[in-house]
């Protein structure tokens, strides 16, 4: 197993606010790393900083051995990082088909085969192929956002709160898709629902007030009642 992504003491400012104040984490190839922490801890900003959308003001980010800290977002994405934002950011007036087409870096045979595979993970998308993104349900939008990131052969996927606001039955199918994706790619997942996170995660990084508090194997955190109570409010 090799280290695919490393953040070292990353600081990020958004306007006058100092959001990330020393985030460090690693993601091993083939694993799911879950970012945990309270609301406003800096989990979403961490993902945005990796993508270059909220660039780091200090610290370093290495991906696949390359320093990507100062790269523009499109270069980071083209390096093989897929991003599923918290608000899904589906292109509302584009159809499901068009949403996927915009995302596809190539439109060759391999890409089409991959699209077919993605549609087996999210069969609803096939059903609503010609429907505009804005007219999909919350769960379908989430699936489209994930499919859009997965339609390319990305080595790393950043997925931000995929279960947020979804019905339990939809959450289960989203999590099932993540488990399937895990077989093919490395994932960094932000997830508030601890039982979901524990079910899919291999490792965790706990962030509090914009700072990494602790990292380790997920099974250790599951057993550590004190840590969960202090930082996640889980009794």
């Amino acid at each position: 197993m090799s280290r695919l992504l490393t953040l070292e003491n990353v600081h990020t400012h958004i306007g006058q606010y100092h959001i990330l104040q020393g985030v460090s984490l690693t993601a091993e190839e083939g694993e799911v790393t879950v970012l945990l922490g309270r609301n406003g801890a800096g989990k979403t900003t961490t993902l945005r900083t990796i993508m270059g959308l909220s660039p780091a003001t200090s610290g370093t980010i290495h991906y696949n051995g390359q320093d990507i800290t100062k790269l523009p977002t499109f270069s980071i994405a083209n390096g093989g990082i897929g991003y599923v934002p918290e608000d899904q950011a589906v292109f509302t007036t584009l159809t499901v088909e068009e949403n996927l087409k915009v995302a596809m870096r190539k439109e060759d045979e391999a890409a089409m085969a991959r699209q077919d595979y993605v549609l087996t993970l999210f069969p609803d998308l096939k059903k609503f192929w010609k429907k505009e993104g804005g007219h999909l349900s919350g769960g379908q939008k989430q699936m489209l956002a994930m499919a859009r990131a997965f339609v390319n052969d990305n080595r790393l996927m950043l997925i931000d709160e995929p279960s947020k606001g979804l019905a339990p039955i939809v959450i289960e199918s989203v999590m099932e898709a993540i488990r399937e994706m895990k077989k093919q790619t490395t994932i960094i997942l932000v997830e508030q629902n601890f039982s979901m996170a524990a079910g899919v995660g291999d490792t965790y990084t706990l962030i509090d007030d914009g700072e990494t508090v602790q990292s380790g194997r997920m099974e250790e955190l599951v057993r550590d009642e004190e840590l969960k109570r202090t930082y996640l409010g889980i009794a």
Partner: protein, 287 residues
């Protein structure tokens, strides 16, 4: 009836010219959220360079192509030097592009002289046809055709090509487009150059229509284009076409029936639309 048909053809031709100018403006606003007050300057440069190339080559087609290329090159320079530093700041955009508009107008005087220059219509587009008492001026019909053709081509690009998809996606969420691996700044530059090319095309076609070109024509027509963009819905391409036709027709009818209101009619039209649909006839996301 004949009179009404004549006025309609005139109004449609004027509307199409305004559409060509507004089309670039609305694309630039829709994707890039840039208020480009220098757009009229690019239009004026298109008009002057069209007259210049026509004088040099004697070919109307080459003059139009030369004008469009001039607009595209000026668009490249404008985006790189003027627009890029002020992305995301509308106040700065208004100030700097208004200033650049004046620079472009004054540069016309430096290059082509301070006086207005006569513009000729090519022989094959001069004159008119008469059909059932209706006089159809060839050049006006030609402008209507070009306007419809440009609309169809731009719509095809927006709806049927990958770059069009990227532009439409960029209108909705620029950040996400970048996160998918697309260099949005490059797309911005291309859209700006295309918009500038459309402005120059409008200028090149306007020159024979009005018979003369003058340095201040940019500001004059830019105001009409902005009215059209506001009425059509900021950033909506079909909205701009509809609004331009409305403005053209209203101007044509009013100039004949109520001449005293012909100048005010565009403002009245804009006020009425804004009262009932503040977002304009269409919204940007319907672009």
């Amino acid at each position: 009836m004949d009179l009404l048909l004549n006025l309609t053809v005139n109004g449609l031709a004027t509307g199409m010219l305004i559409f060509l100018l507004a089309a670039g403006l609305t694309l630039i606003f829709g994707l890039m959220s840039v208020l480009n007050f220098a757009h009229g300057g690019l239009f004026a440069w298109g008009a002057f360079s069209g007259v210049f190339f026509y004088g040099v080559t004697g070919s109307f087609l080459i003059s139009v192509i030369g004008a469009v290329l001039t607009g595209v090159v000026l668009g490249f320079i404008t985006e790189k030097l003027i627009i890029k530093p002020v992305y995301g700041n509308h106040v700065q955009q208004i100030l700097i592009t208004l200033g650049f508009m004046l620079v472009l107008s004054e540069m016309l005087k430096v290059v082509f002289g301070p006086n207005q220059i006569a513009a000729k219509t090519p022989d094959y587009l001069s004159g008119s046809w008469e059909a059932g008492g209706v006089i159809l001026i060839k050049y006006r019909l030609f402008i209507i055709l070009v306007g419809l053709l440009v609309f169809a081509v731009v719509q095809f690009i927006l709806k049927r090509t990958k770059i069009g998809l990227v532009v439409r996606a960029g209108v909705i969420n620029k950040e996400m487009v970048q996160a998918l691996g697309i260099d949005i700044n490059k797309v911005f530059l291309y859209v700006f150059m295309a918009g500038a090319g459309l402005a120059a095309l409008a200028g090149a076609l306007m020159a024979p229509y009005s018979g003369v070109v003058y340095a201040e024509m940019g500001l004059e027509f830019a105001i009409l284009a902005f009215i059209v963009v506001v009425i059509g819905g900021m950033g909506s391409f079909p909205g701009s076409l509809l609004a331009a036709i409305l403005v053209g027709l209203a101007g044509s009818y009013m100039a004949y029936f109520v001449p005293s209101l012909s100048l005010a009619v565009n403002m009245i039209l804009m006020a009425v639309v804004l009262i009932f649909r503040p977002q304009g006839l269409f919204t940007a996301k319907e672009a």
